[in-house]
Amino acid sequence: MSNHVAVTVRVNGVDREIEVDPRATLTETLRDRLGLTGTKKGCDRGECGACTVLVNGRRVLSCMTLAVTAHGAEVTTVEGLSSGGELHPVQRAFLENDAFQCGFCTPGQVMSAVACIAEGHATSDDEIREWMSGNICRCAAYPQIVASVAKAAAELGGAAR
């Protein structure tokens, strides 16, 4: 369409140039334009956290982010976490602790956890709960999510600031 704008964004380490509707959210762009459906749309208004991705290393709600604002940025989605088929320590901790049931919130939980640990906000269970509280899990696998973040944080110790 004529009113689309060109956006250059590095997604999971790959430079992508796409024409996007300026009203399109990053969630929609990732899912419908780039086929990265790991990022979930649970509410589309910043309430549930299922759409959490990293933009320049910081966690953002991609449903509350216009794709055009990601121009020139580095975006990491759940698909970009594992390298060479090996799970990221956070993914592995979620798997080993059974930190999900239906799994719909899991990509957002995992991305939020990666950032939570990197921010240095995973030093106690209380702190993990506070800093993971933007990600809803209706199956309420919360005890296992806390355990998984703590386990991954211990493993990623060096990443915490």
């Binding site: 979930k40 649970g42 799970l87 999900f100 799994g103 709960r129 506070e130 209706r138 309420a140 005890p143």
Partner: protein
């Protein structure tokens, strides 16, 4: 060969096996129904009624069709089969005809090249409504002269009335307590919204990929509405982002198929969050009036109860919910004299149907509130009172049914009572206090309370329903190794059913490599993933099919080896324990495949006058202790800890059992203090997660869980359904704890800050306070 080569495979029944879909889920590669995509697909969207009750004078889709990019705009006139569906009664139109009966009822659907085009097309559909007064009060709806919402319903607006009469319904007692309780409308609020992809097929049929709870009941309803034979409507399960009962009824299934058949292109429909609140049924709001009579020692003499469940605009599963509330409505107690009347009623409120706990939840809040009230009247400890009246194996239900397997109600209560209590809150850490980091208190005005609840739930379908599941198990040798595949139509909603199927096949056949095939209608029905029934019923079917495969394999081996052998740990073994052959040796290129339809013990209808009958096949029990801190000035509640004890018969997957207990308890917490769809004059006021609050990781308290495994001899592996019981008893336990902290009567859930903090709602003096030290 020697016995030394035998080894037991991992991931059997009783192990905390990892979910086979776990890696896909943590990688974001698991395909949920909203993730599906097809070349050339269109996007469907639904026009819904803004009115809870209105007559439709006309619908005009012309302007929608002139919008570029719009390929179809359909109304009831375009429904080729019967424009009716429903789980129990076919009373719900696929698209409204002359009347809309609830806000959000689908009126028209469109297909367009982009979701935004579809949304704009909906705006161009002109519907001329004559607005009618909505019937919004269930009790008034039952009254003489109320507008009749479904003229074909023989009971007027009463969809079902279950009467139970046991003993002397007029029995008198020394101590009598009465109470009136209300339960608000709870939403399942699964995170993955209603969605699916319909693909038109060459044979004039349609392939539907959808998130549901019961593929075959969808298939029959969709085929009926499309006017197609069932074999031309093929369903495949797409990834399900939670269910909790809300996917037992149809949502977008028929609509997407109609649009795909009309446009001859694949059509995807995905509801948004707001639409999802209108797109599925909810938990029935309830009005419950109870009178408990006991002797002075606290032994229950009688319970008399009247329960009114607001079914909303369409029947959904209301008749079964009514039966549950009635038959389970006095709780897990022995009561000689019972008079119970329970009604399910049509109104113009949102339709209500299945949600985890299904009728047992509403009743439990009321009967447990009554038990606390009775204990207070008698000056007894509330746990002692419950234990004194607890049912046990051999007890008789008010329906006359004898409970013929473990019913450790007293033991569950003792276990939660005897857990050490958590330490007092740290008033210097706001995260420990009600209000959290909002810093609303430094411990002043905070009072701790402890409360208890115990509940009962039936497992599987009841009242004579032909409740079965079908499993097809195939054994073959691939690359020199035996491989098993299990094919059922049973729906994985996150509860871990695919894991359970794998574990059962590994246990029965001793083979490590077990693949659970995608669930679809290419195999017989598995029944619903609801009523805590799938481990029992589909588990039973998979076990039985594996046994048939094993028998066939052993017979084949006996023929080939010239002696009798059995299958032990995946090897063919003679009576003396020696390995005679491997499966690969015996089977070669042959394939063994067996399909079994498996049923639990039959159940029977309830007598319409007395409610007597063996209506249920299995009962399940859980108990909770809740510890809360309440800011009695602001009315804020922090649930400090939940202890739960539950009998699961046999923990097929202990880790998954724990997850179910956490999840159910949290949803009960939500009903206790957070969750309610607020309906005013038939209109939903809070269809978002900003205004409908569900528990977050901060709201979820630490849990102490005891799992009992008292085998039910009638069930596969002795298992007892797990998913629902923890949802049932956590709500009354939390409310009892808030009552203990505040002295408020709290007869309605969810409890709101106003109910605690406003002086007008006090019924008893507030106890001494504060117990938490102030700084």
């Amino acid at each position: 060969m020697s016995t030394a080569t035998r080894e037991t495979v991992a991931g059997r029944v009783g192990d905390s096996a990892v979910r086979p879909d776990a890696a896909l889920k943590v990688r974001g590669e698991f395909a949920y129904s909203s993730d599906l995509f097809a070349d050339d697909m269109l996007w469907g969207a639904t026009l819904r009624s803004p009115h809870p009750h209105a007559r439709i004078r006309s619908i005009d889709v012309t302007a929608a069709l002139t919008l570029p990019g719009v390929y179809a705009a359909l109304t009831h006139a375009d429904v080729p089969g019967e424009n009716r569906y429903g789980l129990d009664h076919r009373d719900q139109p696929v698209l409204a005809e002359d009347v809309v009966r609830y806000q959000g009822e689908p009126v028209a659907v469109v297909a367009a090249d982009h979701p935004e085009t579809a949304r704009r097309a909906l705006d161009r559909i002109a519907v001329d409504y004559q607005v009618l007064d909505p019937v919004v009060d269930a009790e008034l709806a039952m009254a003489e002269g109320a507008p009749v919402l479904h003229p074909e319903c023989p009971g007027g607006n009463v969809l079902r009335h279950v009467r139970i009469r046991r003993g002397d319904p007029e029995a008198t007692a020394e101590v009598v307590v009465t109470g009136e309780y209300r339960v608000g409308m709870q939403d399942q609020a699964f995170l993955g919204p209603e969605s699916g992809l319909a693909v038109p097929a060459e044979d004039g049929g349609v392939d539907l990929h959808v998130a549901t709870q019961w593929l075959h009941v969808d298939q029959s309803q969709v085929a009926h509405a499309l006017g197609l034979p069932p074999e031309k409507v093929r369903l495949t399960l797409a990834g399900v982002g939670g269910a909790f009962g809300a996917r037992e009824d149809l949502s977008m299934q028929v609509h997407a198929c109609l649009l795909a058949l009309r446009t001859r292109r694949p059509v995807k429909m995905v509801y948004g969050r707001e639409e999802s609140f209108f797109g599925h049924v909810h938990r029935h709001p309830a009005l419950l009036r109870y009178e408990h009579g006991a002797d002075r020692h606290g032994r229950l003499v009688s319970v008399r109860a009247e329960i009114v469940l607001d079914g909303g605009a369409y029947a959904s599963s209301t008749p079964a919910v009514v039966a549950n509330a009635a038959t389970l409505g006095i709780g897990p107690y022995q009561v000689p004299n019972v008079r119970m009347d329970c009604w399910g009623v049509y109104t113009n409120n949102p339709p209500c149907g299945a949600m985890r706990g299904f009728g047992a939840v509403q009743a439990c809040f009321a009967y447990e509130s009554q038990m606390d009230k009775l204990a207070e009247r008698l000056g007894m400890d509330p746990v002692e009172l419950r234990i004194r009246n607890a049912m046990r194996e051999g007890s008789t239900m008010p329906t006359g049914q004898v409970v013929d397997s473990a019913a450790p109600v007293a033991e569950l209560l003792r276990r939660v009572r005897d857990k050490p209590l958590p330490p007092p809150a740290d008033p210097t850490d706001p995260r420990d206090l009600p209000g959290g980091v909002a810093n609303t208190t430094r411990g002043d005005g905070v009072v701790r309370g402890v409360g208890y609840g115990v509940g009962i739930k039936n497992v599987a379908f009841s009242e004579g329903f032909d409740d079965y599941s079908t499993a097809r198990v195939r054994l073959e040798v691939l690359g020199g190794e035996p491989v098993v595949s299990v094919h059922t139509a049973a729906v994985e909603v996150g509860q871990g059913l695919v894991t359970v199927q794998q574990q059962i096949a590994r246990t029965e056949l001793g083979i490590a490599r077990v693949t659970v095939l995608p669930a679809d209608t290419g195999v017989g029905s598995a029944g619903s993933s609801s009523a805590s029934r799938q481990s029992y019923v589909t588990g039973g079917a998979v076990k039985a099919a594996c046994e048939r495969v094993r028998d066939t394999l052993c017979a084949l081996a006996a023929t080939r080896l010239g002696r009798e052998v059995g299958l032990v740990d995946g090897k063919l073994v003679t009576a003396d324990g020696a390995v005679a052959a491997s499966i690969a040796d015996v089977l070669g290129d042959e394939v063994i495949e067996r399909t079994v339809e498996w049923r639990h013990r039959p159940t029977f209808p309830l007598d319409p006058l007395t409610g007597q009958g063996n209506a249920h096949t299995q009962y399940a029990f859980a108990a909770h202790r809740a510890v809360v801190d309440v800011d009695v000035e602001l009315g804020l509640v922090k649930v400090v800890e939940l202890a739960c004890a539950q009998d699961v018969g046999r923990a097929i997957n202990p880790q998954a059992v724990l997850g179910q207990i956490h999840g159910g308890s949290a949803q009960g917490l939500g009903l206790a203090v957070m969750e309610e769809i607020q309906v005013v004059d038939g209109t939903v006021r809070n269809p978002s997660f900003t205004d409908y609050l569900i528990p977050t990781i901060v709201d979820m308290p630490p849990m102490v869980v005891d799992v009992l495994e008292l085998a039910d001899p009638h069930a596969p592996y002795g298992l007892r359904g797990v998913g629902e019981p923890p949802t049932i008893s956590s709500t009354p336990a939390i409310v009892a704890a808030i009552r203990a902290a505040t002295g408020r009567a709290l007869t309605r859930v969810p409890v709101r800050p106003d109910d605690i903090a406003l002086a007008g709602s006090a019924s008893r003096p507030v106890p001494s306070r504060p117990e938490v030290p102030c700084d």
